[in-house]
């Protein structure tokens, strides 16, 4: 991370020589991940304590083209990072199978068992050695809205998908009391990852309309895209979100606006949209000083019926290591420990499955609310596109859904392309 921080620290504390002497190699540890902008600041802030305590310099680099870039760095001969933060379990599995990862040392394994539940679901294990650790978790199934706007228009939070559809129709027809308003804010532009906001939508609809068993079969490749359940979810998504008049700015805005800017119309003096479906991490994309629970609030995307709590599509980042170096092992141990995320948790926008931390003091109120959603007994499943083999879930699915939404391909062509690729791809 930022060498100026170290330099400034040196000037202030005059402790450079002693700090630097703790660095066995003297080199900079490179961490690579998907966090950019505010999230990159938050992650980097969490590294400061480690850098100050050890004198080791860490540089974090975050890219919108994370999957493509990481593969190039690890497999393509470009310099591999020392540690990566990977949101795609499918990519972790692939790199583990290709022997690209370095097993954790005893200190990191101890940190993992000390801080996380005994059931380490999602941790990459091979030959009794551990190769990945969970990090930040996210909930994808949230719909953000402004309570003041809902109240002013007499709208209520829907409890079923039919109620949501009726509300969307009503907003599209009548708009806000002060003028026209689209039901949704939605954008897809995210570099080579363009399309993930749409796949998140479809996954939530599959999970709700077809249930967890069908979802699991689809995510694991046992059920194709041409399946009626998947087609139904895609059609619902098109009718509910993509159809003309549904989104602020229309199709052109959907395809060209950066995902981090998608919520801007929600916060206008005259809001351009009423709702914004996005993950818990969208909080960091909201305007400064936005207070969750006051200025903006969320509800979980409703299920088909209100007889049970609607399920969650969740995401999560894994920490993996590419260098067998004492300093890198030391950093990994720190990142697994509560210290490794304390600053980010205090800033907000971070929560994890760590059981060793006090929920009330470690997290912000908004993040505690997210954490509680995981603990109220409802079903949740990992983001299907991230579980699929990366060539399918983190590449083709994103590209093909973008082509379909843009009108370049039909639904038939889309599902046929996906199934043909799945048939050729090795399944995990």
């Amino acid at each position: 991370m930022k060498r100026w921080l170290l330099l400034t620290g040196c000037m202030l504390a005059a402790s450079c020589s002693s700090a630097a002497s703790n660095t066995s190699s003297g080199r900079v540890i490179e961490v690579f991940g998907p966090y950019r902008g505010v999230e990159a600041d938050d992650f980097a802030a969490s590294l400061t304590e480690f850098e100050n305590d050890t004198g080791i310099t860490v540089r974090y680099t975050g890219s919108a083209d994370f999957v493509k870039d990481l593969r190039e760095r690890v497999e393509g001969g470009l310099s591999a990072p020392d540690i990566a933060i990977v949101p795609q379990p499918g990519l972790v599995d692939e790199m583990l199978a290709d022997d690209r990862l370095v097993a954790f040392d005893d200190a990191s394994v101890a940190a993992l068992t000390d801080n996380y539940p005994a059931d380490l679901t999602g941790t990459a294990v091979k030959d009794a050695e551990i190769y990945s650790a969970p990090s930040r978790e996210t909930i994808k199934s949230l719909v953000w809205y402004r309570p003041s706007v809902f109240e002013a228009n007499g709208w209520t939070v829907p409890t079923t998908l039919d109620e949501l559809t009726a509300l969307v129709d009503r907003i599209q027809e009548t708009g806000d009391a002060d003028g026209p308003m689209a039901p949704w804010c939605f954008a897809m532009q995210s570099g080579s990852a363009t399309g993930w906001t749409a796949t998140d939508w479809v996954e939530d609809l599959v999970l709700r309309q077809a249930g967890v068993d069908v979802y699991d079969e689809w995510a694991s490749g046992k059920r194709g895209f041409d399946d009626p359940a998947i087609r139904s979810a895609l059609t619902t998504f098109n009718d509910l979100v993509i159809a003309p008049g549904r989104t602020a700015g229309g199709l052109r805005n959907i395809l060209q606006t950066d995902v981090t800017l998608a919520s801007a119309p929600l916060f206008g003096d005259q809001p351009g949209c009423a709702m914004y479906k996005q993950a818990s991490f969208a909080e960091s994309w909201f305007p400064d000083e936005t207070v969750v629970g006051e200025d903006v609030d969320f509800f979980v995307l409703p299920g088909v019926t209100d007889s049970s709590l609607p399920p969650l599509v969740a995401g999560g980042d894994s920490l993996v290591q590419f260098s067998d170096d004492p300093d890198v092992h030391r950093l990994m141990t720190y990142l697994i420990s509560p210290d490794g995320a304390r600053e980010w948790a205090a800033r907000g926008g971070y929560y994890s499955a760590r059981t060793s931390v006090d929920l009330d003091t470690y997290y912000t109120p908004a993040d505690r609310a997210f954490a509680e959603l995981f603990r109220d007994g409802r079903d949740y499943r990992f983001d299907a596109s991230d579980v699929m083999p990366p060539a399918i879930g983190s590449d083709l699915f994103w590209k093909e859904i973008t082509s379909w939404i843009s009108g370049a391909t039909t639904l038939d062509q889309f599902v046929a392309t996906m199934d043909a690729a799945y048939a050729d791809a090795p399944t995990g």
Binding site: K2, W4, L7, R59, S63, D69, E72
Partner: protein, 364 residues
């Protein structure tokens, strides 16, 4: 040995060994230079300075009417030129602007310690300032909203909303030139050049325009540019006039001169503080642009920068880059790290990469 409290003796024959004890450093230097050249202005030079502003009566009223008309006209030309983004029109406004006369008259009144003239000159400057800002505001109200994109102000407006120490340097040099030219009628042909070098009305018109558009920070900065020019001209024109022999006759006046020159110097120093911050920001942005340019060359020597927006703030570099290359783009993260290696700060990069492929086809 002259009595140090004897004003007559002091005035007529200042003792060289006592001067450093009683004068400020600036005063010492000017006294030394004045003593060295022993220059006394001619009657014509005195008249040239006295005639800058009429000393009252119908002539003064007539002068103020003429001055007001020229301010309104020059501020109108400047405001339309600024909104039209036309440097030539803005320069034309500078040539019509009459503000230089009362400002240099204020400088002359300062060094000759003639209070009524000083206050009269400053009152005329203040009136001209109010008038020029009001004209800028009115022009922007009439035409501005429809022709100006708030996110992309005309370059001529932008250029006047971020004064730096370079502007102070221009004003000091131009003020000295004005102080040298004014008493010498034979050199008055050079005066328009001074007016162009140190623009007075365009910054005031910019104050009015930006205030009307609700851009208060830009408005403050444009007014800072005007204050910079005003303080620097009075200071350096005063020095130049003093070196030309324009000084108070009485000892009390000489003491007042030192006080006044100290006040103008302090004013210049005060406006230099925000200017130095601006200068530092400009230099940081320049260093960042060089770092980005070098980083792009190191990243891929085949690509060409088409557009670069870079801004450094709080140890953070925000870079928006449009490059054109012939082959596949190299990874953007490498470019961001190359920039950080050179600029040593947090980097947020947005890169747009365009393929440069030329196809040439003929059909007969």
């Amino acid at each position: 040995m002259p009595n140090p409290h004897d004003e007559t003796a002091q005035d007529s024959a200042p003792a060289a060994d006592e001067a450093p004890r009683q004068l400020t450093p600036i005063g010492s230097v000017t006294t030394w230079i004045h003593d060295a050249i022993k220059r006394v202005p001619s009657q014509d030079e005195h008249d040239a300075v006295d005639e800058l502003i009429p000393q009252g009566g119908p002539e003064f009223v007539e002068y103020v009417v003429r001055f007001s008309l020229l301010i309104v006209l020059s501020a109108s030309i400047a405001a339309f030129g600024l909104l039209a983004d036309s440097a030539a029109v803005v320069i034309g406004a500078m040539l019509v602007a009459p503000l230089m006369t009362p400002i240099t008259a204020a400088a002359a009144a300062t060094v000759t310690a003639r209070n009524p003239r000083l206050w009269r000159a400053l009152a005329v400057v203040a009136w001209g300032t109010v008038l020029a800002v009001a004209v800028g505001w009115l022009v922007a109200m009439i035409a501005g909203g429809s022709v100006v994109d708030l996110n992309q102000l005309p370059h001529e407006v932008q250029a006047r909303t971020f004064p730096t120490l370079l502007d102070l340097g221009v004003a000091v040099a131009a003020g000295a030139a004005a102080g040298y030219i004014l008493p010498r009628r034979s050199t008055s042909g050079a005066l328009p050049g001074v007016g162009i070098a140190v623009a007075l009305v365009p910054p005031l018109a910019t104050v009015g325009i930006t205030a009307q558009l609700g851009l208060s920070a830009d408005s403050r900065n444009a007014f800072l540019l005007f204050l910079t020019n005003l303080a620097a001209i009075i200071f350096s024109a005063g020095i130049a006039l003093a070196l030309s022999g324009f000084r108070p006759n009485q000892f009390s006046g000489k003491r007042a001169l030192r006080t006044r020159m100290a006040i103008t110097l302090v004013t210049v120093a005060v406006v230099a503080i925000p200017l130095s911050f601006h200068t530092r920001t400009t230099l940081e942005d320049l260093r960042l642009r060089r770092a980005v340019s070098d980083a792009v060359s190191a990243w891929d020597s085949e690509v060409r920068i088409v557009e670069l927006n870079a801004d450094a703030h709080d140890h953070r570099a925000r870079v928006e880059l449009l490059v054109v290359g012939r082959g596949d783009p190299r990874p953007a993260w490498q470019l961001a790290e190359e920039i950080q290696d050179r600029f040593d700060a947090a980097v947020d990069l947005r890169l747009l990469y365009q393929r440069d492929e030329l196809y040439s086809v003929s059909v007969r």
